[in-house]
């Protein structure tokens, strides 16, 4: 059945390709014509005849007599003077349908260098002991690479009857033969093989020592896979000994932990203190995989006695287990002599720590090197637990200096909104780090409740940077809180006529809303006698989320005599005109046309050309071409025209893409 399945898998694609059509009834008369054309086949030529023959084989599988004739014809071909490529094809077919009848022909061919590989390939796949016997018989008659190939085929067949011969060959003075025999015994994995491998392993020396150990180990794996775990366990325990090659010990540790974690524990524990890092890391890893608390306990016991690299591994494994019983180990390891261990401990506390870890982590983040600082900061953000945020707020209030700054940073990153008041309390701190992080936290955490406080902060800021920051924070809070909370801000704005810096900072906050009163105030400020206030209102209106201020900005760009303010108004107009909209491109071009007349400087012309290119249509193109004569922006005009023309070929007169 396996062979039939294989045949179907091979033939299905060919059939689907339409190269070969299956026929319901096949006859023996079809065999010879096909084989005649196959006999001259060379690699690279058409494979139609080969595919047709394979289809013939498939169609004939239910006709025993016809299959016998096919087998016989193939055997004739492999003995003929057909090309090597044709014979390879025939051997492959024989590997699928061959029977005992093929064995007498194929067996002697295994001894011929030109046919040994393919003959053995076919023979190894023919079911029944006749083929097995042929392989065993030929084993005794062969040498060198032919013998090694046969050993491989016997291993592939897991031929227990070959075990005695293979045991003999495993002691061969020819090393490749001995290695192949060892590998075959491991694959066959019967009791005599196991016993033989045990003996061979105990007396192997030199280069064969590792091969014998590997074979013994692989044999144990086979027993374990078949469910004979006691046998496997015995071998693993034997191979974990310090005198074994390190990688064999690692594999034995793996097998032991897999087969019987409980019994593995006392064996794995000494391996934790191995001088070989590979063995030690394997022991750490497999102890970490043992269910229950025993593995964790063993890792904790061994922790002080192992080197820094091992300690880092242990901490990583314990953190992955998420077993909070090891938290104190992490807290202690934060003071380890090794920086790598300290960083691993800080990182692990992010998973295993709780509110009691906050001060440890914040202290490390404030006073350690880069690796530890990064680990501590990430852990402060990751810390879980229902009381962690409340504890963080309390810790912010009771700490100072860089530790306080780190806690504020953590609160901002965690989104601990309950820390907003504590951040407000810290905003006047004389430590610049605390002040900066408090402002950052306010921007992230403050809500509607803090709006009056923020307005006050804008009003009482000690310098322009602080006022600007406070204005930005207020703007962010306004955006989060919605227009309903605008009352105190508008009231403060109206009272700020005599305090231009405060007024400008509040404009930033007003620009974050869509409130009609706020828009009216900002539009009104465009007519203020103070250039500072006009600039602030232009910038605020430029950030408006709708095109409502377009007429105001255009009017200002036309009438403003102060060049910087005229430029700012024009930029604002272009930005708002370029906001995504459902306007047809021609309408957008019409909206942007006045900007072409108002743009005096190359910088503004380039900005306009960039915006126009987003609206491919004839009207935009006309504006761009009118600007192309200006040498300062000719290249940009050409680029915009090229881009638009390409887009217009795809979506003529469409909307902005």
């Amino acid at each position: 059945m396996r062979k039939i399945g294989y045949l179907l898998a091979v033939l299905a694609p060919l059939t689907l390709c339409g190269q070969v059509s299956p026929k319901a009834v096949r006859s023996a008369s079809e065999i010879q014509p096909l084989l005649a054309s196959i006999a001259t086949y060379e690699f690279g030529q058409s494979r139609v005849a080969l595919a047709e023959f394979t289809q013939l084989v498939q169609d004939s599988l239910t006709d025993g007599a016809l299959v016998k004739q096919i087998e016989s014809s193939l055997l004739t071909l492999v003995q003929s003077n057909a090309t090597s490529a044709a014979k390879q094809f025939a051997f492959r077919e024989l590997s699928l349908i061959g029977t005992d009848a093929s064995v007498p022909v194929l067996a002697p061919m295994m001894l011929q260098p030109s046919t040994t590989e393919m003959a053995r390939f076919a023979l190894a796949r023919i079911p029944g002991d006749t083929a097995g016997q042929a392989l065993r018989d030929t084993l005794g008659k062969s040498t060198g690479s032919i013998r090694i190939g046969i050993i491989g085929s016997l291993a592939q067949r897991r031929d227990s009857r070959a075990t005695p011969a293979l045991i003999q060959l495993a002691s061969s003075s020819d090393q490749p033969t001995a290695e192949a025999a060892l590998a075959a015994l491991a694959e066959i994995a019967d009791r005599p093989s196991l016993t033989a491998l045990s003996q061979l392993h105990s007396k192997a020396s030199g280069a064969m020592e590792r091969r014998a150990a590997e074979a013994y180990l692989n044999c144990a794996d086979q027993f374990a896979a078949r469910g004979d775990k006691q046998v496997a366990l015995g071998v693993y325990k034997q191979l974990i000994a310090p005198q074994e090659p390190p990688m064999v010990r690692v594999a034995a540790i793996s097998g032991l932990a897999r087969v019987n974690p409980k019994e593995a524990l006392p064996v794995l524990a000494p391996a934790l203190e191995s001088n070989d890092a590979r063995v030690q890391f394997a022991a750490i890893r497999f102890l970490g995989e043992i269910p229950g608390g025993d593995g964790t306990a063993e890792l904790q016991r061994a922790f002080p006695r192992i080197g820094p690299a091992g300690r880092v591994r242990v901490l990583g494994v314990l953190a992955d287990r998420g077993d909070v019983s090891s938290r104190s180990l992490f807290t202690d390891a934060v003071r380890d002599q090794s920086a790598e261990v300290r960083a691993a401990a800080l990182s692990g506390l992010g998973v295993l720590g709780d509110s009691s870890s906050i001060s440890v982590l914040a202290d490390a983040a404030a006073h350690s090197g880069e690796a530890e600082r990064n680990a501590a900061r990430q852990s402060l953000t990751r810390l879980r637990g229902s009381s962690t945020d409340a504890a963080l707020v309390a810790a912010i209030r009771s700490s100072n200096g860089k530790v306080k700054a780190e806690m504020l940073m953590a609160a901002a990153d965690r989104g601990t909104t309950d820390a907003a008041d504590a951040a407000f309390e810290a905003i006047r701190d004389s430590d610049p780090d605390v002040h900066r992080e408090a402002m950052h936290a306010i921007k992230n955490l403050a809500g509607a409740r803090q709006i009056p406080g923020l307005v006050n902060l804008v009003a009482t800021a000690s310098n322009s940077t602080e006022r600007k920051d406070a204005g930005q924070a207020l703007g962010l809070v306004m955006q989060r809180s919605g227009d309903a909370e605008i009352g105190p801000v508008l009231a403060a704005y109206k009272k700020s006529a005599s305090d231009p810096p405060m007024r400008i900072a509040l404009m930033e906050a007003l620009s974050r809303t869509t409130n009609a009163d706020a828009l009216a105030e900002l539009q009104d400020a465009l007519h203020d006698p103070s250039p500072e206030i006009v600039r602030g209102s232009i910038l605020a209106l430029t950030e408006w989320q709708t095109p409502a201020p377009l007429p105001n900005l255009l009017a200002l760009a036309k009438t403003q005599t102060n060049p910087p303010l005229q430029i700012l108004a024009l930029r604002g107009y272009m930005k708002l005109a370029g906001l995504p909209s459902d306007r047809p491109n021609a309408e957008s071009a019409k909206l942007l046309a006045p900007a072409a007349e108002l743009a005096k400087e190359p910088a503004e012309k380039r900005a306009l050309l960039s915006v126009l290119a987003n609206y491919p249509c004839k009207e935009s193109l006309d504006i761009v071409q009118s600007m192309a004569g200006d040498a300062a922006v000719a290249a940009e005009a050409k680029a915009a025209a090229t881009r638009m023309q390409a887009a217009m070929r795809v979506v003529p007169g469409g909307r902005r893409r």
Binding site: E370, Q378, I567, A613
Partner: protein
């Protein structure tokens, strides 16, 4: 005074001048490489060939430091998709999730206020560390005013189509690595720095891990 009498004075002045011009490698602390997953080839036009070795040290007058650390940053996108604008100058350049800012898709600019005019020797930009990618329309300019109206100087521009609206540039696009992109500012004096970008070959969004400005106060 005879020429012989001038000689010691010339020596002293020469030594003082040499001391002033003493050049040292920039104190650059590179983040750890952070590429994740199978790298995808960066097939974009006008791409700089990779150096395939560490960047040579960039020499600047002794005492040059990162003058952008913790300086205020504003951006055309006031509400980044992830992160906050402070991250661009916070000195944290691990590049891991949560340690970079992502701006909305399309052309975006960020402006850094150095709070006083400085002599700027180099600008080092890390847009993204987690994969090899090339950002589009990278423009770096200095200005004397926050609105970039007067004395605007372009230090780098690889916007070959004027998509950002700051003119067509001829610099090459480059692949982001942990080394960052170092731009020679040639000792320009400025207070404000503007950086633009228009997404990358991987996404329309722009990112910043960190921007360092190496210079000295006047």
């Amino acid at each position: 005074m005879s020429p012989r009498a001038w000689f010691p004075l010339v020596l002293i002045l020469g030594a003082a001048a040499a001391q002033t011009l003493k050049l040292e490698p920039l104190p650059i602390a590179l983040p750890k490489p952070l590429f994740e997953g199978t790298p995808e080839p960066v097939n974009v036009p006008n791409l700089e060939k990779p150096l395939r070795k560490a960047r040579p040290p960039f020499l600047a007058p002794a005492g040059t430091t990162n003058i952008a650390l913790h300086k205020p940053v504003t951006a055309s996108d006031r509400d980044p998709v992830t992160g906050s604008l402070e991250m661009i100058t916070d000195g944290i350049k691990t590049g891991v999730d949560g340690a970079f800012v992502e701006l909305k898709p399309g052309v975006q600019t960020v402006v850094m206020d150095l709070e006083a005019p400085h002599t700027i020797y180099a600008i080092l930009v890390w847009h993204y560390l987690k994969e090899a990618r090339a950002y589009k329309g990278v423009v770096v300019q200095t200005g004397d005013d926050p609105d970039f109206i007067t004395n605007v100087r372009t230090l780098f521009n690889n916007d070959t189509d004027n998509d950002c609206g700051f003119g067509i540039g001829t610099d090459k696009r480059y692949v982001e690595t942990a080394e960052g992109k170092l731009i020679d500012a040639k000792g320009v004096v400025a207070r404000y720095l503007r950086l633009a970008s228009d997404g990358s070959n991987r996404t329309q969004a722009s990112h910043y891990v960190e921007v360092e400005v190496f210079g000295r106060p006047l």
